[in-house]
């Protein structure tokens, strides 16, 4: 059996900023692999080192120590070749206000060497795919925030990269726009594109990512599939009973137990003994948020409040 080489390989990657690199340690010997065709979540609070990692992986800055390989290429020494095969969506939608949607896409393709004959056709297809066909000749400055985000992602995909880096893609978007964007990201995986996603929305990561790394203070504190991470807290599966007097809900009772059927039986017996009616029985499984709280010691609010709430 052959294993395909990782799309991203990171070994002991370290970055110090300032004071001739004796200053702030932004990234501390981080190591991980991202297999091809996967949505990889890189989660952590502000200042954890997420954007620093993206800058190192995309050749925007050089590591103090360690190695980063993207598609088998050493990022430090072969940055130009790496850049040709990746697409990057930064946290801020940074296309050109003075150019139209169509012209922004064509300019992006021009930079990446997409043949002239192809550019127009691809730009039109991308505008349709991202529901911006009717905005073709509208200046980027005139788009809504969600549309700007969508066009920025379209521009990152225009040269058909093998890996897409998405830095906080849904921050600041309304619910509908964020939902559309998540559907787009899921679509990328279906097309075989590797997605490196940083986000502070743990629910979003849980929904989208095949594998996640939790990073705090420049160090990775957990690295596994979402299911495996949650399995660490399986013993904390809870049963939640909504009890009532007659038809009116009066109390929600939560029982944490490793054996769910036994816990349900026990709770039902207890309700009957108390003369209460059972209006609903729900099992509450650990979420990625629970895992984050357990592993980092931080509250989930810490990571989300810093970015201004949920999308």
């Amino acid at each position: 059996m052959t294993t395909s080489p990782p799309a991203i390989h990171v070994q002991d990657l370290t970055k110090r900023y300032g004071a001739d690199q004796g200053g702030v340690l932004a990234l501390d010997a981080v190591s991980f692999d991202v297999p091809p065709g996967m949505v990889f979540g890189y989660l952590g609070p502000n200042g954890a080192g997420k954007t620093t990692t993206i800058r190192l992986l995309t050749g925007l800055s050089k590591p103090t120590a360690g190695e980063a390989r993207v598609l088998g290429l050493d990022v430090a020494s072969e940055a130009a070749r790496v850049k040709k095969r990746i697409g990057v969506v930064p946290e801020a939608s940074n296309l050109y206000d003075e150019l139209t949607c169509y012209d922004n896409l064509v300019f992006s393709m021009r930079l990446y060497g997409v043949p002239r004959a192809e550019r127009g056709r691809r730009a039109t297809a991308l505008l349709e795919r991202f529901r911006l066909a009717d905005k073709r000749d509208v200046l980027f400055a005139k788009l809504s925030r969600g549309m700007k985000r969508a066009l920025t992602i379209a521009a990152a995909l225009a040269h058909r990269p093998a890996i897409v880096f998405l830095d906080e893609p849904t921050t600041g978007l309304d619910v509908m726009a964020a939902r559309n964007l998540r559907a787009m990201i899921a679509g990328l995986r279906d097309e075989g594109v590797t997605v490196f996603l940083t986000t502070h929305y743990l629910e979003e990561a849980e929904r989208l990512c095949d594998r996640v790394a939790l990073i705090v203070g420049g160090r990775i504190v957990a690295l596994d599939s979402v299911d495996n991470l949650k399995a660490q807290l399986r013993a904390e599966t809870a049963v939640e009973l909504v009890l009532g007097n007659g038809d009116e809900a009066a109390e929600t009772r939560r029982i944490v137990a490793p054996d769910v059927p036994a816990a349900v039986r026990q709770a039902l017996d207890q309700a009957a003994a108390d003369g209460r009616s059972v209006l609903a029985v729900n099992t509450v499984r650990p979420t990625l948020e629970d895992v984050f709280v357990r592993l980092t010691g931080l509250s989930a609010d810490t990571i989300q409040a810093e970015k201004g709430g949920k999308a």
Binding site: K62, K83, A92, N94, L95, Y96, E98, L99, Y112
Partner: protein, 243 residues
């Protein structure tokens, strides 16, 4: 690699021209401002426009080439758009060359409009076309590099505008636009010899009115040195800023 650099460089130049340069405020800044100054001095001097023509051309190149160049990199860094260019498969000198070519092309375009006016007014007889082309090309390149250097030297757009004016206005008064270099006090002549506009205007003057070929060669050589030096420094400063 070189193909990627060339493609990126030309792409950046076209994008800058479309997005920033070809706007009415830039065109007016590039042409009307120098024209207004020169006409004012011409009226004072009794209408000697022929003497002022080299200065008008030099000044147009200076103001047009630096109009956006002096702020465009600062502006794009502020809005995050420069990062988009840095993520493209080209090396930093190619990115910088694309930026400089944008300013240079705009400077030349504005300079050519003024040149047509000058040639219509005074006729093309006796004009050294090759020297004129070289002087205008090198002048535009030099001033665009100066704009790029200003643009990478500061963090805010308003700082870039201030610094650009700090450099442009002394050059305007000392570079031989309104007062011939020979009429300046000795110490000011030394200062004037430190300014690239002086060499640009002198070379254009030699092209339009004739004179020592050796002097013209020296002017072009100094302009080329200014251009190369400012390009190298601007690229190095940008590399440090974005590291």
């Amino acid at each position: 690699m070189i193909q990627d650099d060339l493609r990126g460089m030309v792409g950046v130049m076209w994008k800058d021209l479309r997005a920033y340069y070809l706007k009415p405020p830039n065109i007016s800044w590039g042409i009307l401002f120098p024209l207004a100054f020169v006409l004012a001095f011409a009226i004072r001097d009794g209408g000697n426009l022929a003497r002022l023509a080299p200065g008008l051309l030099g000044l147009t190149l200076l103001f047009a080439a630096t109009s956006m160049e002096a702020i465009v990199i600062t502006f794009e860094r502020r809005i995050g758009a420069l990062e988009r260019l840095m993520l493209a498969p080209m090396r930093l000198p190619a990115l910088m060359a694309g930026k400089v070519l944008g300013g240079m092309a705009f400077g030349l375009a504005m300079g050519l409009i003024v040149l047509v006016g000058v040639l219509v007014a005074f006729g093309p007889a006796g004009v050294n076309g090759w020297l004129l082309a070289a002087a205008m090309l090198l002048g535009a390149a030099c001033f665009s590099c100066m704009g790029a250097l200003v643009s990478v030297a500061v963090r805010e757009v308003f700082e870039a505008q201030t610094l650009a004016n700090v450099l442009r206005f002394p050059m305007m008064f000392l570079g031989g636009v309104f007062v011939p270099l020979a009429e300046l006090p000795g110490w000011l002549q030394v200062v004037a010899r430190l300014l690239p506009l002086t060499y640009c205007i002198e070379a254009i003057d030699l092209a339009l009115h004739g004179g020592s070929p050796a002097r013209a060669g020296l002017d072009l050589g100094v302009l080329a040195l200014f251009t190369a030096g400012m390009f190298a420094i601007a690229t190095r400063v940008l590399a440090r800023r974005v590291a």
